[in-house]
Amino acid sequence: MSFVKLTTSALALSAMAATAAVARDQVQIAGSSTVLPYASIVAELFGDNTDFPTPVVESGGSSAGLKRFCQGVGTEHTDIANASRAIRDKEIQACAEAGVTDIIEVRIGYDGIVFASQIDGPAYTAFTPSDIFNALAPQVMVDGELVDNPHTQWSDFNADLPADDILAFIPGTKHGTREVFEEKVIAAGCEATGAMEAMIAGGMSEDDAEDACLSVRTDGRSVDIDGDYTETLASIDANANAIGVFGLAFYENNTDKLKVATMSGVQPTTETIAAGEYPVSRPLYFYIKKAHIGVIPGLKEFAEFFVSDAVAGPSGPLAAYGLVSDPELAATQAMIADEQTMGGGS
């Protein structure tokens, strides 16, 4: 008898679930692990300050988040994708193929990327993009010639740097941070050291040379971290002579373990990033599925709340955590109010 009862209740439960599946009353967000801290702060505040339920925020990386976002329209798909880089044309196409045509792009602010090392480790206090390129590129310029990277110690190419073995923990390829690292540091160093010119002189087309400039050496001195910054921190903890790539807010929360290096002589702070002096920073975004506005309660309100002056402005809780607020926030607010999608139309 009890079997019959149990089975019936199990069946009833699944039936009930199927009918209730249509009604989702909270916003679902997925994407960049760099944006996750900010999104979780706003999600908690949104739940505390409004009568809407607290949104659910998942991480997993910008690319993974946008992929899920682009899977289709409907309550079983996410409403918002967080990204630490702009959406790519390829992804917009994938979205369109799945019927996700109207996307609202929201820039929430800027985030700095810093190079930090163990607080008691070697004196890595000042880098330039050329230093990082010389240390981590597969091919570098030595005495005016392009050769396979022979450097094993920082002092091999810059006498001001400590004579310690090169070891760097950099974000893995699924992170949006990686793209900024490649473009603003490695590629900049590639140009500055003349390696790019040498590549073109060596018979490479300009595009190929630009691509080649983005690669890093694969002999174990540059290690990809596919997890989040805590994993990088653990690796730095275990390797006194290593440097790691962190977000500014993460570094500021761990100043008792890490010391930061300047980049081209500029100390990374929210002020230098806002002023555009610190060279390695990138905008953070989230993308809204317009088709879900009005279907998922609180979606538009959440977006408006997120970019309001009280939250994302210079004196709001996001800035207090380390986000560099966007000077053009007012334009973003107006864009959300008008539900203006990418590529024009509203």
């Binding site: 009930m16 702060i41 505390d48 300050n49 925020v57 309550t75």
Partner: protein
């Protein structure tokens, strides 16, 4: 005859029970060595267990204590109305509290000079708690209430001794060196103290800037609802499948094939069930994302083989004489199974089920894919919503906290491990007690 038998005896070297010869010595020595290996193996195991427990307890127990700021606080109706009109209401509540705290500090004779920014740095995110309280108890507006609200994570770590003056090289907007003196003065005035952190047990997850408020309660509930689903589905299905396979099914190639596959399923990595769950339950059946119902369904798939295998083993352990006797007095096959075999196998089945549940309770990987690992900060309102509303699970919550930058979250992750271990120990103890109490030997 006797002589012939005696001769070789006398030729052999003399030996007695008290006098060992070389070979006996060697054999005894090898036995002693083997025992020593065994004891060494057990000691190594115990050493690692103790080291693990010590590490977990020393890192996790601080999570159960929390630094709070204790202040008498009065909210006026005008203040309440003003705050409720703003966009970011909690920030206004926080400001009221900071003002009130500053006044109290001056009244209590804190000698050190401070500004409101310093108070802000020492205070956790109190706005949410305040607003929730006053919205709930509007009749308390105008009354003086003694609040105990969370201090900031650095104050918490300073009182616990994990953050000292030596750790701070230079100040930043999270903490300034002079704040240490202010904390000391406030502690003397009795405004800051450490209390048992009930919020850790009953609370929900919080944003990364509010480590003091984070609690594991909601995810414990999420795990509970998942276990309900797993129990309600895997026990009847698992037991029915095993009874049929063990007692009724004909032995042929088809049932052999099923048996081999059940054994194979038990060895499938759990992440595979997560991918299956995402494809079948969410994308095909359109069940809600991040819901304990889906988590429970996925974990049911994972637990079923374990339950079937252990149930079949305990059915096999019931001697055939019991079945024969039942059939002999005229019981039908089904009567013999349900009246005689199943009750005798029940303790084994229950043990297997509880161990399967305990396994499912600690599982994280499949939950990653169905959206239960993320920021989920709410309690379900009703019993039904408990299955359908997004929630996290204890191991997923631990995984989440461990990845955050504030050290207090790491502490909470260890605390979460203690909570998870307590559940696992309780479940395993129940399994042992059930087995001891109802076990029958033949």
């Amino acid at each position: 005859m006797t002589d012939a038998a005696m001769t070789p005896e006398s030729a052999r070297p003399t030996k007695s029970l008290t006098h060992e010869d070389a070979r006996t010595k060697k054999r005894n020595a090898s036995e002693r060595r083997f025992r020593a290996y065994g004891i060494a193996a057990i000691c190594t195991g115990l050493f690692f267990l103790l080291a693990l427990l010590a590490a977990i307890l020393s890192a996790g127990l601080p999570a159960f204590r929390q630094a709070v700021v204790e202040v008498p606080f009065t909210m006026t109706q005008e203040q309440f109305d003003e705050a409720e009109e703003a966009m970011l209401k909690t920030a206004i509540y926080t400001d009221y509290f900071i003002t009130s705290l500053s006044d109290t500090m001056q009244a209590e004779g804190v000698q050190i000079e401070f500004d409101e920014d310093a108070v802000d740095r020492l205070l956790g995110k109190v706005g949410g708690d305040l607003r929730a309280y006053y919205r709930e108890n509007q009749d308390q507006i105008g009354e003086q209430i003694g609040f105990e609200l969370a201090a900031s994570s650095r104050v918490d770590r300073y009182l616990k001794g994990t953050f000292t003056r030596d750790d701070l090289q230079s100040g930043n907007r999270f903490f300034m060196p002079e704040d240490f003196d202010l904390i000391d003065a406030m502690q003397e005035a009795g405004l800051i103290k450490q209390v048992f952190n009930w919020n850790f047990i009953t609370g929900v997850d919080t944003g990364v800037d509010n480590p003091g408020g984070a609690g594991i309660g909601a995810s414990v509930l999420g795990s509970f609802f998942m276990m309900l689903v797993v129990l309600a589905l895997s026990l009847p299905i698992g037991v029915a499948a095993s009874i049929y396979l063990e007692e009724f099914a004909p032995k042929n190639r088809f049932t052999d094939f099923i048996e081999v596959n059940i054994a194979n399923l038990a060895a499938v990595p759990s992440i595979v069930f997560g991918i299956l769950g995402l494809a079948v339950f969410i994308q095909f059946a359109h069940l809600p994302q991040s819901a304990p119902l889906v988590g429970g369904l996925v974990l049911t798939l994972m637990t079923l083989p374990t339950i079937i295998i252990s149930t079949r083993a305990s059915l096999k352990a019931v001697p055939p004489s019991i079945r024969d006797a039942a059939l002999g007095v005229g019981a039908s096959k089904m009567q013999s199974v349900f009246h005689h075999v199943l009750p005798l196998a029940a303790p084994g089945i229950l043990t297997g089920t509880i161990i399967g549940l305990a396994q499912a309770l600690g599982e994280t990987a499949p939950l990653l894919l169905i959206g239960m690992v993320g920021f989920v900060a709410r309690y379900p309102d009703t019993f039904v919503e408990g299955f359908l509303e997004p929630n996290s699970a204890v191991p997923a919550q631990i995984y989440n906290w461990a990845a955050r930058s504030d050290a207090v979250f790491t502490e909470k992750a260890w605390g979460g491990i203690i909570v998870l271990l307590l559940f696992l120990i309780t479940m395993n103890t129940i399994a042992v007690i059930l087995r001891r109490r109802f076990e029958r030997r033949w």
